[in-house]
Symmetry: C2
Subunit: 333 residues, 2 copies
């Protein structure tokens, strides 16, 4: 029922755009999120299972969804994530929602796309702590998976390339159109309150849109954290410098998307800002040299909360059981 309603709303949004939306939206630095476009549905269904399958981790306990929880804005709402053996992660888990719109993946952009990203956590000893070999061995021991991989990819053997491709294809579906702000962009003038609209205007005139623009309201550039005033943190992440080796790239991070930002707390690469009020205040001072008044801050926060779109809606996947041949998980030692 919900899926159908969402679909009808999507059609409606398209219809509205067709009539008078595009002209309006084109004048704005932020564009509406488009509903899911071309995807390979068979890969999506397989990828959804893999996304929820904790057997891709050494412990059998951690799945992609553990840290990029689709019930909670595509993230874990922790400062930094919990990995294998309860290891404390080095950085805040970015939301998977609308991540297909990012220019690159991870805070430092070290993965060129979702497919390249998907292989990372599986083999990271601090995250899922498995290996690509083990993941493939586990999946290959489960006949239902072997058959589904063959149906989807036409190959007899399961490969890590197929695993990450399917997960990435599922992740492409995790877009969140139809936020109230998007409805406003598409021509529904009543979709925003006066306060939210005032917040949007402040967001533009204060310079926030210099980095937070495009359909994801971010995600399309790398910027230094602490442009005007240095950012103080105990977090040791260095940003792009770790990838490029260039000193000029120190503390350059991918600008996070602000889509669904009400759900993706805490904020920044170190998760240091627990509330949107705090995050807006720090961003204003450090990036723009601007101290927002309490009233201005509240308006911007009101605008940001209008960026929450339709959350992905799907049936909880049922995973095929392991067999006598499946390597058992090793949660303890």
């Amino acid at each position: 029922m919900k899926t159908k309603a969402t679909f009808v709303r999507s059609l409606l949004a398209v219809a509205v755009t067709g009539v008078f939306g595009s002209a309006l939206a084109a004048d704005e630095p932020i564009q509406p999120i488009r509903p899911v476009q071309q995807v390979n549905l068979a890969q999506v269904e397989l990828g959804k299972k893999l996304y929820f399958d904790p057997r891709l981790s050494k412990s059998g306990f951690i799945s992609c969804n553990s840290c990029h929880n689709l019930s909670t804005g595509g993230t874990d709402n922790l400062k930094t994530s919990i990995g294998h053996n309860w290891q404390q992660g080095p950085i805040n888990a970015p939301t998977v929602l609308n991540s297909s719109l990012n220019v690159a993946q991870f805070w430092d952009g070290r993965a060129v796309d979702l497919k390249a990203q998907a292989g990372g956590p599986i083999a990271n000893p601090g995250e899922m702590a498995a290996s690509h070999t083990l993941a493939v061995e586990v999946l290959s021991s489960i006949p239902e998976y072997v058959i589904e991989f063959k149906q989807v990819f036409g190959q007899d053997k399961v490969t890590i390339d197929e695993v990450t491709q399917a997960i990435a294809e599922f992740e492409k579906t995790l877009v969140t159109p139809n936020s109230r702000f998007d409805k406003w962009l598409l021509g529904d003038k009543d979709a925003l309150t006066a306060t939210e609209l005032a917040g949007y205007n402040l967001f533009k005139t204060s310079g926030c849109v210099a980095c937070h623009n495009g359909s994801a309201v971010g995600g399309n550039s790398f910027q230094k954290m602490g442009v005007v005033t240095p950012y103080k943190t105990t977090n040791t992440a260095e940003g792009m410098a770790g990838v490029t080796g260039k000193d000029a790239d120190r503390f350059k991070f991918k600008v996070p998307t602000l889509r669904n930002v009400e759900m993706t707390y805490p904020y920044f690469h170190d998760g240091a800002a627990q509330t949107l009020t705090e995050a807006v205040d720090i961003m204003g001072r450090l990036q723009l040299g601007k101290k927002f008044t309490a009233e201005e801050n509240a308006k911007i926060v009101a605008f940001l909360k209008a960026l929450t779109g339709d959350q992905p809606s799907f049936l909880m996947p049922i995973l095929p059981p392991s067999t006598d041949k499946t390597p058992p998980p090793k949660p303890f030692g």
Copy 2:
């Protein structure tokens, strides 16, 4: 679509029972699982959210679904579970599927019903490591939850009693009708293969049904683990004796349901048996004083795999975001 199909199948099952099923099923020691009967749907929907909400744990990382994963047979498929701070749990997580049919909850029966059970893990320092006070404080800080609790229970204040009631009501929906064995019970003679049927006959004539009977194929009595030959384990769980204080109750555990047993590995209260073959062999020797041949074992295993029913099918719940007033999770110290 899947939900509708399931519903149609349920109707069909009822129709079949009406015509000729009940007479057949009545002669058997195992009864078909009935589709979900009376539930309070508003409580179910609220309970589903709570079941998936990791904010009921101190870390903000562990939900009911972490150890009773509805993608994997309502359990975590680990010998013993992973709790707060990666603590190793003392006992194998029993499946939540069909748990409403159990005579009592937990392996030692210390909770009289699902509602009494639901409060346990939340406050257990080795599991979710929160407290009932903290859980209520978290939920009360989230307006969407406050409104939903008020809609459902008609009270202004959220209470732990309501929290556990809603979770229990959701859990009542987690029954798995329409296994091939149930179809056979209900009159579809082609639903089982000759091997599976032979396995069922062995299951009856060997004495397995003495404990594994009723609609859950278990779950309705407490029995000593190691009746004929003592069970050897390094696990320190004592069973019912821990509840009753009676020495006679040492190693008496609730007989687990065998519904969906293909999905609920590993087996026994200590999770020591990784495969069904192993579990059937040990049960035969220790409980019945019987050494099944490889052929007999395989037949019984084939029958057991016919006990997998329709898995719960529902939309992944979307949880309302925390607010500035919500106590932040404390995953590390």
